[in-house]
């Protein structure tokens, strides 16, 4: 990648501003489709909990119009197995690893972060997942109560000395306030955001598709909503915002960046296009060249400077 894409976000130095979002790509890079590593600036791990979790029963994936509902339920082997088996593999991918952590109690969170400390060299950042809609206790509730969020971030800040990111919930009553609370708690970046709470009904069986009834909506369908949330967050905090939600084509990542995101995470779109990180990078490079800019950092938030006069321009 060209050095024009190099950037630093929330304490992490990235070769490109394109991050693989949590929970969508194998933890074993040997399973990655050929070429899919290209353009990837960092990789988020699958949401990890202190103890292993089997995840949810029943259906886990339902396609919606230009979107996907998922109810994986944070299936993961727990922190010890992660450290022993998965982290070394991810580290081997040659890409910085961001560890996504989910927790029910502050105590769990503290313990996980303590364990991760000894692997500081392999973990460029911790991404606090306060937003998973698919677990009955914990998970999202941290992300929808302002005080809980503040206390969780502050405690994580005390334990974890490396870069600390918070991945916000779109279900937060106000994205701006929750981003601010994260910043005040000591987060170095906010990821905006996780999946949007949705559901689907199996008309034949006359029941919700998912055992948990609700599930998280991701994919192209949510792009306009995520973009709005990024715009709001970027207006509310000084720390970097990382845009996540619905990016499906290279121009979508550019939109996120122009709206104020310093980097982007791509998730669902990798299900259908493993080459997306590379094409986003090409798009960004071409855009910089066209504008004679030296760094992707100069693109961040440029759409926020517009002034009046619009009118539609056709043809």
């Amino acid at each position: 990648m060209k050095s024009s894409l190099r950037t630093e976000v929330g304490g992490v130095s990235l070769e490109t501003p394109v991050i693989v979002a949590s929970g969508v790509w194998p933890m074993d890079p040997r399973l990655w489709p050929a070429g899919s590593i290209e353009g990837v600036g960092a990789v988020c791990s699958k949401g990890m909990t202190l103890e292993p979790r089997e995840g949810n029963r029943g259906l886990r994936i339902v396609e919606t119009y230009s979107g996907v509902l998922n109810s994986i339920g944070l299936q993961n082997p727990g922190v010890e197995h992660f450290i022993a088996e998965e982290l070394p593999l991810l580290d081997n991918s040659g890409r910085p690893v961001i560890v996504n952590v989910a927790f029910e109690t502050l105590e769990d969170l503290g313990k996980m972060l303590e364990r991760l400390k000894s692997f500081r060299s392999m973990v460029v950042a911790v991404e606090m997942n306060v937003s998973c809609p698919n677990v009955s206790r914990g998970g999202m509730s941290w992300g929808v109560h302002l005080e809980s969020l503040g206390s969780a971030v502050s405690m994580a800040r005390e334990v974890w000395e490396g870069p600390l990111w918070v991945k916000l919930s779109p279900q937060a009553p106000s994205i701006g306030e929750f981003a601010r609370a994260s910043q005040e708690g000591g987060a170095q970046a906010v990821v905006v955001g996780n999946t949007w709470l949705g559901m689907a009904i199996d008309n034949d069986l006359e029941r919700p598709f998912f055992e948990n009834v609700f599930a998280g909506l991701s994919g192209p369908a949510i792009l306009p909503l995520a973009l709005r949330a990024v715009w709001e967050a970027a207006g509310a905090v000084d720390i970097p915002v990382i845009g996540c939600g619905g990016i499906a084509r290279p121009g979508d990542a550019l939109s996120m960046i122009l709206a104020g995101a310093s980097a982007v995470e791509v998730g669902t779109a990798l299900f259908i296009d493993s080459g997306l990180p590379a094409s986003i990078c090409r798009e960004l490079e071409a855009n910089l060249t066209k504008k004679g800019l030296a760094s992707v950092r100069e693109l961040v938030g440029r759409a926020r400077n517009y002034q009046g006069e619009i009118g539609e321009r056709l043809r």
């Binding site: 929970g23 399973l31 050929a34 995840g55 994936i61 669902t268 299900f271």
Partner: protein, 266 residues
């Protein structure tokens, strides 16, 4: 199909293709050829591809379809028009642009026995189509197929051309034997046989109930909804006797016992 180059070892790739032919087999099924851009793709029977239309984001996800044959750059598939995605696929004319991710999954191994019985519920026959040319000649193959009945004649005929001596069973008795394919296997399977099954879960369970101890090896190819096809999303996880497995990368072919053998729910 071709076993060279150890196709099972590498991860799948995303490829562009376009429909080269699309032939209905009765009202329910389609036999489709897809021409890949660039080099052909090596795969073994039981492996599959996630197939979607290029350029649209609705329907979004690739549909998993077993590869039935490949001829140069053209991959062949056989599918049932079941929901929205396959219905759409069935209406696309030749030339329509597609995207394929694959080959995914482990595929079938070399049979350990010389007597191989393939048991399929309707489209469960798809991953077996390539087996005859894939197995060494020592292996004697018997295919056992179950279909609902009326309307499935063209499909049955198509399958019959590919398996000499195929045993047909239909629910309504209108084609072949009246009954289900699992019962039918009772007439032929013994200790020296290896049995592979693909079809609805109930059929696969039944297959094991009658043959688990009575044959030498019992393999099943499973179906689960998939998003990534690469082992990342955990959408296709099942619980097995040896822990959680992903159908897309740890399967779709499993030992029957591993999946259905224990008291665990899958």
């Amino acid at each position: 199909m071709d076993r060279s180059g150890d196709p099972m070892k590498g991860p799948p790739a995303d490829r562009r293709g376009s429909i080269s032919f699309s032939r209905p087999l009765g009202d329910h099924c389609v036999h489709m050829g897809i021409e890949l851009e660039g080099l052909s793709s090596k795969a073994i029977p039981g492996q599959f591809f996630l197939i979607r239309e290029r350029g649209v984001l609705d329907p979004l996800l690739g549909r998993p379809l077993a590869l039935v044959a490949s001829e140069g750059n053209v991959l062949e598939f056989l599918f049932r028009v079941s929901g929205r995605g396959t219905a759409r696929l069935a209406t696309l004319p030749p030339g329509a642009a597609l995207e394929l991710r694959g080959p995914c999954g482990n595929g079938f191994p070399e049979p350990v026995r010389n007597e191989l019985v393939l048991v399929a519920g309707t489209l469960g026959i798809a991953p077996f189509i390539g087996i005859p040319s894939f197995c060494s000649e020592r292996v004697r193959i018997t295919a056992v197929l179950g279909v609902p009945g009326k309307g499935w004649e063209p499909f049955v005929e198509w399958c019959s051309e590919r398996f000499t001596g195929i045993r047909i069973n239909s629910d309504d008795g209108s084609i072949g034997r009246h009954g289900d394919p699992v019962e039918d296997t009772l007439l032929i399977v013994g200790q020296r046989h290896e049995v592979w099954g693909c079809g609805p879960e109930a059929m696969l369970r039944g297959l094991g109930r009658v043959h688990e101890k009575g044959c030498d090896r019992l393999l099943v190819s499973l179906e689960k909804r998939m998003a990534c096809g690469t082992g990342g999303c955990l959408g296709c996880s099942i619980r097995t006797g040896s822990g959680s497995k992903r159908v897309c990368v740890d399967g779709p072919v499993f030992e029957w016992r591993q999946v259905f053998g224990g008291s665990h729910e899958i």
